[in-house]
């Protein structure tokens, strides 16, 4: 108790990080995600080609000098398209998840703290959303919004996926916040005369960060998959910009002659999704309060 007048808070966070680092699955997952983020960020430099560059001399080639993973049916470099595709998957995953967290956390907290009409309203809306197939709803939205430019196309996919996914986050936050609200320290804050806004920001939210972080990490995997599905169905990211889902569907006619066209994007997708799932699980374990000293 002498020199370690260190911040207990950071000490606890540090021990959570230490627990995370001791988990091999977490380390591998985090490395995969980090590698993909770096690859996506440096795509123009690492790829060697633009995502829509066509090499007519080499169509459907296997791995060769100049084309690390070969080319597809249009003579486009697969390695380049995978890297640019990672940009799409990661950007969608992270941005949609961020929107979802903002909407889900604010509405969940509002419902839990205010209760009454707000709560009933939120719960019925989420019930309705859960009862309707997510993907169908997203497809409907894209169909209704009918994006005209490629940029609008991106935006539509973001909006559609965020709108489909926020209810689960709102439910998680609401449930956790309801449990927290019963804690005596929240009652104590009310007894002291702390305003509602401060109670939410200083007492509820900090205690919700762990479950939110865990849920968001696992949920990124779902969002990435949903984007791939939309693109696979041809209503997600539009060509010529590559997306892994689109690459998978484009590869189907060549399944027998060039199966690797399917394998590369499918493997990349599976690795990213699994990594987020594993990382989410590992975070849950590392942040588990029962493991704190």
């Amino acid at each position: 108790m002498t020199a370690d007048a260190m911040h207990a808070h950071s000490a606890r966070e540090r021990s959570a990080v230490q627990r995370l680092l001791r988990n091999p699955a977490a380390v591998v997952s985090a490395s995969v995600i980090a590698a993909m983020v770096i690859g996506a960020a440096l795509a123009p430099w690492l790829a060697g080609y633009s995502y829509d560059a066509v090499d007519r001399a080499n169509v459907l080639s296997g791995p060769m000098a100049g084309h690390l993973l070969g080319t597809d049916n249009q003579g486009q470099d697969i390695w380049a398209r995978l890297l640019f595709g990672a940009r799409v998957s990661l950007a969608i995953g992270i941005i949609v998840e961020a929107i979802e967290v903002i909407i889900g956390v604010s509405l969940g907290l509002l419902a839990a703290y205010r209760g009454g009409l707000w709560d009933t309203l939120l719960m019925r809306v989420t019930d309705a959303m859960f009862a309707f197939p997510d993907l169908l709803f997203a497809i409907l939205l894209v169909g209704i919004l009918r994006p005209t430019s490629p940029f609008a196309g991106f935006l539509t996919v973001f909006v559609a996926l965020a709108l489909v996914n926020w209810p689960s986050m709102a439910r998680i936050v609401r449930g956790q916040a309801l449990a927290l609200r019963e804690k005596e320290f929240v009652e104590a804050a009310r007894a002291i005369g702390v305003p509602d806004r401060q109670i939410i920001l200083r007492h509820l939210l900090p205690n919700l960060l762990s479950p939110i972080l865990v849920a968001a990490t696992v949920d990124i995997a779902n969002v990435v998959l949903a984007e791939a599905t939309l693109s696979f169905l041809g209503i997600g990211i539009q060509p010529p910009y590559p997306s892994w889902g689109r690459m998978i569907s484009d590869s189907l006619p060549y399944l027998r002659s060039a199966p690797m066209l399917l394998v590369y994007p499918a493997a990349a997708l599976a690795m990213l999704v699994l990594s987020f799932n594993f990382l989410g699980d590992a975070l849950r374990d590392a942040l588990d309060p029962r493991l704190r000293r």
């Binding site: 007048a5 320290f185 009652e187 007894a191 002291i192 005369g193 305003p195 200083r202 900090p206 205690n207």
Partner: protein, 339 residues
């Protein structure tokens, strides 16, 4: 009741009913749980009043309803002139500076994500009583030292402290704004026996220095005996006996009070013969019928007790008792036909 002055806190007819509905087979059963069913209570400035009773009798609910952490169903809570039960939220918030509460479980009463310094200075921030970070830290240090902790504990987090130390932190938070009234909701029952006396001494010390009134909620009469000048005994949502601590301990008049006192362990074996055992379980606050609430367990219950509910009536020695046979119960050989 002859008080020298107008009491600081004056509770009249305070009622808190909870509506619960549960599924029984295919039917929804709606029930009203009368947790607090019309209680009167006075607390004078600087004094300590005990509120005792078994768990489930509504004493904690009463404490929370007085502070309007729960909205009262009926009744008034006059605190230095203003009725807390009717005050608009904004005015109530301002008045909260003059009230405090200490909870039973020091574990869940402190936010695990806030430093101890932030916790104890939160009331000051909430009411804009501190300027900068420096002043806030100084005040937090002073508060911690006042409750017997070290000033440098301010930068630590609740999980680094023992139960007793956490309760001290809770007390420091409650006294931060130097309130006139502090509700102590079983402040020592979750603590180790060895620490209880220390916390009681600390509370007495604080009262000497800052002069707040205490409403001491407890289920253990022996604790209240030393700490309180007056005691109110609660049974199933109502007060059955109220008066000066000495008088009640010397000669309890309500059969429930007598049973409660008899349940306090006595070190002297020769005195144990006087025990009046309490029989049966307390009916829940939901399953209540007409008549006296205690009659199902009362050793002296008669027909009248099943028909009418005895009102809380004033007795000679500055106390009130809610029992038709309060006099008979006292001293007279008890008719033991419990039913």
């Amino acid at each position: 009741m002859s008080y020298p002055s107008i009491p600081l806190l004056s509770v009249r007819g305070l009622t808190k009913h909870f509506h619960v509905s549960r599924q029984m087979g295919l039917r929804h059963v709606h029930e009203v749980v009368r947790a607090v069913d019309g209680i009167d209570l006075d607390v004078c400035a600087g004094s300590t009043v005990g509120l005792v009773g078994e768990s489930g009798c509504g004493k904690s609910t009463a404490g929370r309803t007085i502070l309007r952490l729960l909205k009262p169903t009926a009744g008034s809570v006059r605190f230095d002139g203003s009725d807390l039960a009717a005050l608009p939220e904004r005015d109530l918030r301002k008045l909260r500076r003059r009230m405090g509460i200490v909870f039973q479980d020091p574990m869940s009463a402190l936010n695990p994500r806030m430093s101890v310094g932030d916790i104890v200075s939160e009331p000051l921030r909430a009411h804009g009583l501190v300027g900068g970070r420096r002043e806030q830290a100084d005040r937090a240090r002073a508060l911690l030292e006042m409750v017997g902790l070290r000033g440098d504990h301010a930068s630590r987090y609740p999980h680094e402290f023992s139960g007793g130390q956490r309760q001290r932190i809770g007390i420091a938070r409650a006294i931060a704004t130097e309130p006139d009234l502090i509700i102590l909701d079983e402040p020592i029952s979750a603590l180790d026996l060895s620490i209880r006396a220390q916390i009681l001494n600390l509370l007495a010390d604080i009262q000497d220095r800052l002069g707040p009134a205490y409403l001491f909620i407890a289920h253990d009469l022996s604790v209240v005996r030393h700490a309180c000048s007056r005691v109110a005994v609660m049974y199933l949502g109502v007060i059955v006996e109220e008066g000066p601590t000495d008088a009640i301990f010397a000669a309890p008049m309500h059969p429930y009070t007598r049973a409660l006192l008899a349940s306090v362990p006595i070190a002297d074996p020769s005195r144990r013969a006087h025990r009046v055992p309490i029989e049966g379980d307390a009916p829940t606050a939901a399953s209540r019928h007409a008549g006296c609430r205690f009659r199902t367990r009362c050793p002296i219950a008669r027909e009248r007790c099943a028909a009418e509910e005895p009102p809380l009536e004033k007795m000679a020695d500055d106390r009130s008792v809610a029992c038709f046979f309060a006099g008979a119960a006292h001293g007279a050989p008890s008719v033991r036909e419990a039913g």
